[in-house]
Amino acid sequence: MPKRNYVLVCGGTGCESSKADQIFRNLKIACTEQGITDEVQVVKTGCFGFCEQGPIVKVLPDETFYVKVTPEDAEEIITEHLVKGRKVSRLEYDTKGSTKNAKVDDIQFYQKQFRIVLRNCGVIDPENIDEYIARDGYAAVEKVLFEMSPDDVIQELKKAQLRGRGGAGFPTWLKWSFTKDVEESEKYVVCNADEGDPGAYMDRSTLEGDPHSILEAMTIAGRTCGASRGYIYIRAEYPLAIKRLKIAMQQAREYGLLGDNILGSDFSFDIEIRLGAGAFVCGEETALLASIEGERGMPRPRPPFPAVKGVWNKPTVINNVETWANIPVIILKGGDWFSKIGTEDSKGTKVFALTGKISNSGLVEVPMGTTLREIIYDIGGGIANGKKFKAVQTGGPSGGVITADYLDTPIDYGTLTSLGSMMGSGGMIIMDEDDCIVDVTKFYLGFSVEESCGKCSPCRIGGRSLYNILDRITKGEGEMADIGKMKDIGLAMKKASLCGLGQTAPNPILSTLNYFEDEYLAHIKDKRCPAGTCKELISFHILADKCIGCTACARKCPTGAITGERRQVHRIDPDLCIKCGVCLETCKFDAVFVR
């Protein structure tokens, strides 16, 4: 029986950390108290993507979109909206000054999005297999089992021109056909859910919001390539995704959709979860396979490629979460349908995690070929706090920056690479005028150095050398020769490193040297940090005409460096100041400034 209303509560990690679970329970309690449980169903869904405004509660069918909800608001939503029919206007999302009664379609954040991967996130209860089935779930596996040959499946993927979403963009059909064509009785299917790229969380949200889609896709690959076992390698840092995957696997087994003789066919397939143990390099496919085998996660030279020799030296299809999530849709709607979306070079959609200095952080899924300007300004609402856009970083520690001059570039795999960055897993970190490019680049190198497994020397030694040079530059100890040195080391690493980590680790430097050489020169020649970030090159001061002597900064200062009588102008002792910035953050009168 369909209900009169559905109340959807976001159950993604972001909203859960803001007490979404308590909101969910309070909503249910309120429904019981009002005696409307027969008419209203409260559902905990996956991530809505609009994390900036969380926790989010959505009411169907009127599509009311409540934001920043607290557990205390739950009762009011039920008694006012669902019993009396009056929306709780103070909680409704305010669409830029217009009327408050916003429907989801009116919200600019969602208008340019096109959801394939995130089709079920924020729509269904991920812990209920029936809801997935009601949205055509497991229909694709049925079609593959009874209506399609393995070659048909490969053909469909070839028509779709789907490319791997983990970063490198390798054609998925080709990967599958390599494994399919090897004569071997034992083969494996692996889902790479070791999402380690800092600033990217689409895989986590997909697993939390729609775990069955991954299980279904892996089963399809198993049937197509002749594998009967699968592994999901997932980060231990994602406890909620792990829990929902386990529930999904259990339900799928009960429904005969996983295990022996799936849907009564002669095909058997099952999946095992393996938890990562905190090593970024395990996102590299050969390192991931070593980790599944219980060893240190060190990459192996390729070839042989995993498609031919993977886990336990057996042919292995390995794809990333986002790639998997596309598969059931391609099977059901066809490769021709899929290939109409996107650009010549890249088909379909891409999920981006929009973070950093952006007004609306969150997860967005857009057709390939959408411009950066549309993503950052139309969907993301522009730069937070009225600051000036400086650059967007894509591709994580393997990528580079893109400046304002290129905001109108339609993004796909090819265009990002030609701009000196890369697609990577889809992290998009927005930087404003307060971010120092040299400092952020040092941050990325620090990451790559720490996560280098140490097996090959170009990465182990080259990365460390690059980091040391950057560190000197940010301390005002750089020399002009450093720029040439960094380019030389970087190029050597790109050519000689064993795996993607070392080959791409210099990219942040090479890319920023290209677009922001001035900023490097300011640090090296003038010993100045234009953004006011690098500690050794800045000092904190108080403006006499703005300070009213409220003593707030002096009370917060951890080293007692700020002195001054009440209602008198304060001053900072440069010898005691540790440049922590607490005074800048505390002052309500903009009296603290950085030089």
Binding site: T13, G14, E16, S17, S18, C51, E52, G54, E195, G196, P198, G199, A200, Y201, R204, S205, A236, E237, Y238, P239, E272, R274, L275, G276, A277, G278, A279, F280, S291, I292, E293, G294, E295, R296, G297, A353, T355, G356, K357, S361, G362, Q393, G396, G427, I429, M431, D435, V440, F443, Y444, F447, E451, C453, K556, P558, C580, G581, V582, E585, T586
Partner: protein, 186 residues
């Protein structure tokens, strides 16, 4: 995740003494059960170690030596795996494990300043545990809560949009909880 029989685990947990390695007569039977539960699965070393660490909070040396012997894997290989993965710790951790996210989104929104403030407040550096065994400090590589940056995780609780000026309050909240626990125990 604990696959050993419950009474053996209870016995082990009761026998634990702070500052000492677990008692071997209580520990080894539990490890045996854990290893048996992964019997027949390839690459079981990492899941076995994860299960032990989840139970004890760290991997004491005697547990590693026993795993090596029971699984017939050289001790050097076991410690190689343990030292490679940042999840594993051979040192006991404090009651509250504070992990400051150092993903890019948190970094550009001031994660580093938050880390510095916590370091100052607790007087310990990253990787260390406070003398009273209450707090351990670590950095994390992106918890995937980038929309709420900067983020600090204390055990399983995510604290969002943390500011350096709010750190003192945050720590005090846990110090108070710890003190109350102590009082209740006395």
């Amino acid at each position: 995740m604990i696959s050993a029989s419950e009474h053996k685990v209870d016995h082990l947990m009761e026998s634990l003494k702070p500052g000492h390695e677990p008692d071997e007569t209580a520990l080894f039977p539990v490890i045996d059960d854990i290893i048996t539960s992964y019997h027949g699965q390839g690459g079981a070393l990492i899941p076995v170690l994860q299960t032990i660490q989840n139970m004890l909070g760290y991997l004491p040396e005697n547990s590693l030596r026993y795993v090596s012997k029971a699984m017939k894997i050289p001790f050097s290989e076991v410690t190689g795996v343990v030292s490679f993965y940042s999840f594993f710790s051979t040192q006991p951790r404090g009651t509250y494990l504070i992990r400051v996210c150092m993903g890019t989104a948190c970094y550009v929104r001031g994660g580093n300043e938050v880390l510095e403030a916590i370091t100052r407040e607790l007087g310990i550096r990253v990787g260390e545990t406070s003398d009273d065994h209450q707090f351990s400090l670590e950095v994390g590589r992106c918890f995937g809560a980038c929309g709420l940056a900067p983020v600090v995780m204390v055990n399983d609780t995510v604290h969002q949009r943390v500011k350096p000026s709010k750190v003192r309050e945050l720590i005090a909240q846990y110090q108070q909880a710890a003190a109350e626990k102590m009082e209740a125990a006395l």
